[in-house]
Structures are given as structure tokens and as C-alpha cells.
Amino acid sequence: MDSLSEHLSELAKPFSQSLFAIGIGLAVGAFFLVIVGHDPIFGFYYLFKGAFFSEIGLASTLNYAIVLMLTGITFGLGMRAGLFNIGAEGQLMAGALAAVTASTFSLPPGVHLLVGVIFAMMAGALWAIPVAVLKVKKGVHEVVSTIMLNWIAFYLCLYLVLGPFLNPARSDISIKIRLNSRFPLLFGTLSTAIFVAMLFTVIVYIIIWHTRLGCEIRAVGFDQECARYMGINPGRAMAIGFFVGGLAAGLAGGALIMGFPPDYAVYIDLSNIVNYGFAGIAVALIGRNNPLGTIFSAVFFGGLWSGKRLMQISAGIPVEIVNVVSGIIVISIAIPELLILIKKKIEGRSVR
């Protein structure tokens, strides 16, 4: 009991920081709504109503949460190993296109889905390997290499959806995922991919917090030199961080294409597979780079993504305001002592 309350009080600080950052994000978002003449309360009412208070909305929120949770793992696990892995964007695209590739095989029902998932994960990891090699062998900063690989993946996908995966029947999407390799639906549009994503997340949590390997990864993230003196190979820990992150992002891409009704395909302009990777950064930071925290923050951000359409239809507010809010949330998370600073300022003023 004692340890539980201790554990909870340890969690209270990061939790309040996350809530505070979300508050700042929403406040600044509201500010930008007000200056162009929108009513923020009206807007946010529809945003959250669309996200959580209808079966369709909730299903779509959770569907987004599946993907965001996994791209959040990519960034969060990287942060644990001291890496700024912003390559989820490209790795997700690789996973999505691998899922489409796997779907063209002829396989029995259950096996086909499994093969699709494995293909997607492997493609994501494959897209992370150059980053790991360049980082460990050459010392290339992962921010530069991941962004370049994101763009390479983007153009490669553009080629694939217009070339080998061209849909002869429709001009706006690639070929569809076959029925065999789609995730079965749970309710509404929510797919069973959520179990796979949760399982993956929990496994990553166990690896990070309850295994020797996870301890090594965290040690490297905490202080690389110190970890080296302790006999840990930082290169290995970082490479594993990139690899598992790639698996997560690849799985995200697979879940996105194999579990998102009604299209089950990549749009020609890739508009349905972009931005998840970058949003994953915000998800991981709000989840304090903890896989379990990431689940909750993924549901929150999934809500923003799913509610924004109702907000646009009902309140006439452009969906893009959600990205503004995410950006502000990330910026305010960058200052860990923000709450303390503000508290000091207020106390200082009252003393004077």
C-alpha cells in the first residue's frame, strides 16, 4: 500500500505537467480561434463531442489512437535511449506499403493477416536500420537522417501508389487490401488491431521497465558515458531502440491500412498516411515517454483527430487548429520546470 501511494505520488508530477501542457495548448489554440472570430468554447464542445460522445466518434477515436500509440512508442522508446527518433513518419509509410504488398499474395484467411502484420513491422524496421547504422557507426544525428528517410519514403510511396499499386477502378486510392488480410471489426469502425497495438505497447513497457535490456537502454539514455563505464554497449542499446521503434511504426502503418474502414487503401496523395509520425512525438511527450502513459495520451490525441471533423462541420473551424494545439503542447513540454517557474514568479510577486 505504502509503495503504491509512493508510486502514485511519483506519477503526480509528470501527470500534472502533461495536463498543464495540454491546458496551455488548448488555451493558445483558443486564442488563435478568438482572433479570427471563432467561438472556442463552441468549437471545443464539438471537438470533444465528436470525439468521445457517440459510438461512431469513439470508434474512430480509438482507431486513431491505435496508430498514434504505436508512433508514440517509436519516439518515446527513442527518448528512453537518448535518441530523437522522428522517423516514424517514413517508417509508417514503409509499413503501410508493405501491408499493401502482402495483401496481394494468395494465402488462407488467418495466415494472410499475420503475414501482413509481419510484413508491415519488418518494413518499418528496415526503414529504421539505416538510421541506426549511420548513428552508431558514423555518428550521424538521427534528426537529419530520419527526416531524409521520411522524404525518401514519401516519394517512394508516391511512386508505388501510382505504379505497381495503381487501382484500375478508382483514381483516388491505391489497390485495396484484400478481405483476407483485413483486421476484423470490433464495433463500428473500430478494428481488432487495437489488441495488437496494446499487446505491443505492453510488451515494450515490460522490456523497458522489467528487463536487463530495458535497464541498459534507459541507462544509455540517462548518461551514455556512465553506461559505457558500466560495461553497457551504447551502440547496441541505441540500435535496439531504433529497431523496435521501427517495428512499432511499421505496425502502425499496417494497422492504418488493414484496419481502417471503409477504404483499406493508401490515398493517391498519401493524405491518409501522413502526419501520424509527427503527431506521435506529441503523443509520446504527453505520455512522458512511458508506454502506458502513451496509451492514454494516444486516446486523447486520437480524440482530437477524430473530433476535428465534427468541429469543422458544426462550428466551421478549420481542422488544422488541432495541429496548432499539438505544436504548442510540445513546445510547453520542452520546459520541464515551467510549472515551477510560474509558481516561483507568482510567489515572488506575492512576497514583494
Binding site: G139, V144, L158, I281, V324, A334
Partner: protein, 328 residues
């Protein structure tokens, strides 16, 4: 040093051979070089700003977002005032204010510089799309005709003033860097901020100023992109150039003039990928869809170039670390 020079010579020779082949294929090489010079401008300005920034000890990976925000702000300022000069000013002020915010977060609040930079990028992508949607129509806004920055007429097409400005700015910054006391302080602030502080100079202000200067240069680059070069504003305008500029910074080993050289090199490949499709004898040979492989080129070149040179570069000791005075 000799090794690097040998590689440089090899690089120049291979570029010359490439140009010769392109000339044979029917491309007008002078026009390719003109486009390369224009591609150089945003990369060069942003890279030099970041060199100053990193030399003083702060890393800013929000360059892409700064380019995007300032290119949008410049178009907005121009459309409101019907004057491109005001647009450029608005772009620079936007860049400088983002630099200021990033500086305050990373220098005074001791925040995480990388997270702050990522946040700037995310915010910019959302804000610009939101802004374009709110002010004009969703998606893209083309600059009204007649409002773009006038160009110098040459036999090979219009030449932007920004090219000359970029080269001049880089030379001035390089001069300040190595020939003035202030330049020495700035470089020392990134190597050993404690020593600078002990000698009675305010490290925090010095770093903040570098951040604002870097932001201003990025703002200028953004204004160039939207007002002089591409004549529009959209949320994908920089297309990774902020990050390619970051690669230029790595490539240059934090020397202003080398950063400009790197910008010329990356600008060349950027231009090549855009204009290879326009080569009369080559364009029609590329099957539909395969143009995407051509567009990948600058990103692959960046990746390879950085991987080749990185081990030979030395970075300031305190770069990326907020300076804390020892508290008594």
C-alpha cells in the same frame, strides 16, 4: 585536410562531368546553374544562421518551421501592404520572434532544445495551414501578380537580388566571426560559456542574440521562398529544406563560408532534381511515376554526404546544453 581537399577536387570533377553529360542531353547548363543559385539562397541563409546559433551554443531544429511560418507571414504582409519590401520585413520579424521564443525556452528556461524545435515545426505546419484556410482558401495561396520581388535581368533569365545578398551576408558574418572581439565571445560561448561568463560578458544575452539573428536569417530565407522564388504559400513549401540546411551545417563543420559552399552543393542537386524532367532529350524517356525517383535525389545526396564527412567534424563542447551558473 589534404584528404578533404582531394575529395573536394574529385567532387568538382564529377560535377563537371555530370554537367557535360547534361549539356549533351540537351539541357542548358547556364540555366541549371541559375536555378542552383536560387536553390542555394534558402539553404545558405538558414544554414549560416544556424552556424551562428550553434557556435554560440544553442541548437535549433525548428528551422523548417521557421522557414514555413516566415514564408507565410511574408506573403500575408505583402498582400496587406501591397509592397514586397514590407513582406520581407514581416518575414524577418516572424523568424526573429520564433528565434526569440526558442532562445527564451532553451537559454533562460533551460528547456529541451530539440523538443522545442520539434514543437516549432509541428506548430508551424498547423498554423500555416490554419492561417491559409482562414485568410484565403484552403490549401494554397498564390501571390498576387506584380507583388513578387523584382529580379536582375540576365541573358539566362532573372537573377534574384537575394543571391548577392546571401553571399554578402555570409562574408560579413564570417568576418565578424573571426576578426572581431564579439565574434570571439560568440564562439567562446559555445565552447566554454563559464569562461565567457567569468570575464564579465553576459552569456545568456549573447546566445539569445545569436538565436534572434539565426531566426532573422531563416525569416529572410522564408520571405525569399514565397515572394521571390515560388510565388506562393502552402503548408509544404520548405519541403525539408530546413533539415537539409541542418545537414549543410553539419557538413560545413560550423564554418560560415563552408556552410555557403554546402548550400551551393545541395542547392545544385535540389535544382537538378526539379529540372531533370525538363531536359528535352531525357524528360520524355522517364516513364510516368518514375519522376519521383528523381525527386528523391537531394535527400539521398544529403544523407550520403553527411555520412561521409561527419566523423571529420568537431563541434563546440557546450553546444545543445543550457548554461547554468553555479548557484551558491
Amino acid at each position: 585536410m589534404i584528404k578533404i581537399r582531394r575529395k573536394l577536387v574529385l567532387g568538382i570533377i564529377s560535377v563537371a562531368i555530370l554537367l557535360y553529360v547534361l549539356q549533351l542531353a540537351g539541357l542548358k547548363v547556364p540555366s541549371l546553374l541559375m536555378i542552383s543559385l536560387h536553390s542555394m539562397v534558402p539553404l545558405g541563409l538558414v544554414a549560416v544562421g544556424e552556424v551562428v546559433n550553434e557556435r554560440a551554443g544553442t541548437v535549433n531544429i525548428g528551422l523548417e518551421g521557421m522557414l514555413l511560418l516566415s514564408s507565410f507571414a511574408a506573403v500575408y504582409g505583402t498582400e496587406i501592404s501591397r509592397n514586397w519590401a514590407i513582406g520581407i520585413l514581416v518575414g524577418m520579424i516572424t523568424g526573429a520572434s520564433i528565434g526569440l521564443v526558442h532562445g527564451l525556452i532553451s537559454i533562460y528556461a533551460k528547456g529541451d532544445q530539440i523538443i522545442s524545435g520539434v514543437g516549432v515545426n509541428l506548430f508551424a505546419a498547423g498554423f500555416v495551414a490554419y492561417g491559409i484556410w482562414t485568410i484565403w482558401i484552403p490549401g494554397v495561396h498564390m501571390l498576387s501578380p506584380g507583388l513578387s520581388v523584382p529580379r536582375i535581368r540576365t541573358p539566362w533569365g532573372g537573377l534574384s537580388w537575394f543571391i548577392l545578398l546571401t553571399i554578402a551576408l555570409v562574408l560579413v558574418i564570417a568576418f565578424i566571426f573571426y576578426n572581431t572581439t564579439w565574434g570571439v565571445w560568440l564562439r567562446a560561448a559555445g565552447e566554454n560559456p563559464g569562461a565567457v561568463d567569468t570575464s564579465g560578458i553576459n552569456v545568456f544575452q549573447l546566445r539569445l542574440f545569436a538565436c534572434i539573428l539565426g531566426g532573422m536569417l531563416a525569416g529572410l530565407a522564408g520571405a525569399f521562398m514565397s515572394l521571390d522564388w515560388i510565388h506562393m504559400t502552402t503548408k509544404g513549401l520548405p519541403a525539408g529544406r530546413g533539415f537539409i540546411a541542418l545537414a549543410c551545417v553539419v557538413f560545413s563543420g560550423l564554418e560560415p563560408i563552408s556552410a555557403l559552399g554546402a548550400a551551393v552543393l545541395f542547392g545544385f542537386f535540389d535544382a537538378l532534381s526539379t529540372w531533370i524532367m525538363a531536359i528535352p532529350k531525357l524528360g520524355p524517356l522517364i516513364p510516368p511515376g518514375f519522376d519521383n525517383f528523381v525527386k528523391i535525389m537531394p535527400y539521398i545526396v544529403t544523407l550520403v554526404a553527411v555520412a561521409v564527412v561527419i566523423g571529420k567534424r568537431r563541434f563546440p563542447k557546450s553546444v545543445g546544453r543550457p548554461y547554468r551558473r553555479e548557484e551558491i
